[in-house]
Symmetry: C2
Subunit: 142 residues, 2 copies
DNA sequence: ATACATGCAAATCATTTGCGCAGTC
DNA sequence: GACTGCGCAAATGATTTGCATGTAT
């Protein structure tokens, strides 16, 4: 039932995710993997992302942008999502600090803490009244 | 730009969400609204859910199940998602307790804290080895 | 040899959008 | 009357799946 064989593509995906802190979506991972294995398919990338997630080697994040973001760093940390530029930042978390005093109706195995706001970079940026939100920026340019 | 007119359907959606603590998905809200306005469409429900969310009257939750869940209670609280039955529970949060000591790269306007695990109800349930996960239960039966 | 991995194309599922008409201000 | 809301149907976009073939053990 848990018999996974070695897969070059799966390894490439894991290395790609461990090599960035940008929390990329699946198609960006695909672009990276294709640089090494040009025949790789998006379907294969998705299949392997699921396997890696079930093995606890990566995290799948829902940051409320429609597409999932993947994270090769599985130590406990939170994420800050800028609602202007869409960037996802890591935030250190003080272990066990936040769950204290909460009424939790079960046994917690994992958690996801996402903070939404405007990042410092966007706050200091001068805003032109031309109405560009920048929210939907080109995903490929990271 | 913010000129919304009164809409019976939108009001019904808001009341529906304020009348439950089950964090329902859009199509469940639709079923409820149709009981009062049978002609209402899912597209209209989605449009109004977005408006209500932008007005800060409801919350849209990503609990990692593909579809968004909506919440008519906007006070600060966290959610516990059972990975067996898929139920979403509310958890009280001690105001400002968890953000302390974190390195946040911007100004936080909102946050979402989701805990994943197995709820007490499922833990006490006897498990038959028939392989049913129950994860994909019928959404309509709430 | 057997079971898992992959490519390809088609399917799925939640959500969104264009358009013409209806309701509100 | 101008502008927003609605129903309908079609479009979209991310993710999944069936099937035949390739690869690891």
């Amino acid at each position: 039932m848990t018999g996974y064989k070695k897969s070059r593509i799966r390894e490439a995906i894991l290395e790609t995710l461990k090599g960035t802190r940008t929390h990329p979506p699946a198609d960006w991972v695909w672009e990276e993997v294709k640089k090494i294995y040009p025949s790789a398919t998006l379907a294969t990338v998705y299949r392997n992302l699921h396997i890696l997630e079930s093995q606890g080697k990566i995290l799948a994040l829902d940051v409320g942008q429609g597409e999932k973001r993947y994270d090769g760093f599985v130590h406990h940390h939170a994420h800050f999502v800028c609602r202007k530029c869409g960037e996802v930042y890591d935030c250190e978390i003080k272990e066990g600090s936040f769950a204290k005093g909460m009424n939790i109706p079960g046994e917690v195995e994992a958690f996801q803490l996402t903070l939404y706001g405007v990042c410092e970079r966007c706050m200091t940026k001068v805003m032109f009244p031309t109405g560009q939100s920048g929210k939907k920026q080109d995903k490929r340019e990271r």
